[in-house]
Subunit: 237 residues, 2 copies
């Protein structure tokens, strides 16, 4: 079973707001490859993933692409709805199948207009998202494919349960904005080192600690900043 509280943003709401909002949440299942919105689309819903992972992907005119940010149970898709723009220049595509709750544009605008905790939660999340995007920009500039693959695997791992990912090298390459061969080579090294096991689109992470040590600092920075903005209930109490 899935519950709205499994999304960390919804979970951060006080009881009164939960009661008000949760009845309007609608659960949806998101198959792999679903496009939640396309660049320039007027977005209709805001999505709160539970066990799905969604990538914000930018696609250039020549077809080349790069991932801007990853969103899972830690966040929401459809920021532009309450930022005032209604559209963005990127694409939101389901990178790992799963389910999510969604809210209509009208509802989220109403809720945002109340200036309750939902507003503050969403704004704080937006800042976390900005941090992730900034880090992605720097990472694209300065770090090797090897390092970036580690970062990417960790980001995905954090948003799933278990240590298995379902993801072809071709798709990872699209996300990282590199060639498939580059991913093959980097993944090969990780496999030889015994850090992961790769088999026809199924990745098993065997040694997470090593993966973290082989990643660039970018993963850690984003993670620490997210933890700062959204302290775990235990830490907050």
């Amino acid at each position: 079973m899935v519950f709205p509280e499994q999304n960390q943003l919804l979970n951060a709401l006080p009881p009164a707001e939960r009661e008000r909002i949760f009845p309007h949440l609608r659960p949806v299942t998101l198959p792999l490859g679903t496009v939640l919105y396309e660049s320039g689309d007027t977005q209709r819903y805001i999505y709160f993933p539970i066990d799905a992972i969604v990538s914000l992907l930018y696609v250039l005119r020549n077809g080349a692409s790069a991932e801007i940010a990853v969103v899972g149970k830690d966040g929401a898709i459809g920021i532009a709805l309450f930022m005032g723009g209604a559209t963005t220049t990127n694409r939101a595509i389901v990178q790992s199948a799963g389910c999510a709750y969604r809210l209509t544009r009208k509802r989220i605008e109403q809720e945002f207009g109340r200036h309750g905790e939902m507003l503050h939660v969403l704004l704080r999340y937006t800042q976390a998202l900005i941090t992730q995007m900034a880090q992605t920009a720097v990472c694209n500039r300065h770090h090797s494919v090897d390092q970036q693959l580690c970062r990417w695997l960790l980001l995905s791992l954090d948003r799933l349960t278990g240590n298995k990912l379902v993801m072809t090298q071709e798709l990872i390459a699209n996300m990282l904005g590199v060639r498939r061969e580059g991913v093959t080579e980097a993944a090969g090294k990780l496999q030889k080192a015994g850090v992961i096991e790769y088999r026809r689109g199924k990745i098993t992470v065997l040694d997470r600690a090593r993966l973290e040590s082989m990643s660039c600092e970018c993963y850690d920075v984003v993670r620490k900043e997210t933890d700062r903005l959204f302290p775990l209930p235990a830490a907050a109490a």
Copy 2:
């Protein structure tokens, strides 16, 4: 003379809010190289540039750096103050000397809490900033130094009056996150082509149209999105 209205965000405010806010604005001059805040600093002010240009720069542990976004009279520095985080993981550094107006943290929080037009303007600007950061990430991945230099010159040019920049190749290299030699080479090509004139830290843009055509699509995308979010008074009327 400088006036608050020269900043496009302040200019977008209705008369009533201007009357309320403008008395609290304090003009400051920002010499080249001034650091408005450092990564992790609790930010004290929000700045609205008039003729200064500020770069949001990310500095890696090994000293390498990359620009995340450029802010001039089209925006504000200190987003984190109203997003709820108070700090960010980047540095804000003055890239072109000039002046700005600033507001204390307390004032901007008060103003934000009123839920007036200022809130909406700042959120819309935040979305424009997100667009610019996303584009920077993709640009870092896919485009050549030559193209990125053009993009960068255009971004700076838009935030200044006239066609001259004061900026060494060394500094540009830091912003773009590339070697100084790379900038020298790219600038050399532009100079040979008669597009710019470069002389000891002083750049004169001779042929802006050519510069635009030699730039990657990134400049255009960001510009169009900014225009969409902040239509000029003429277009709005």
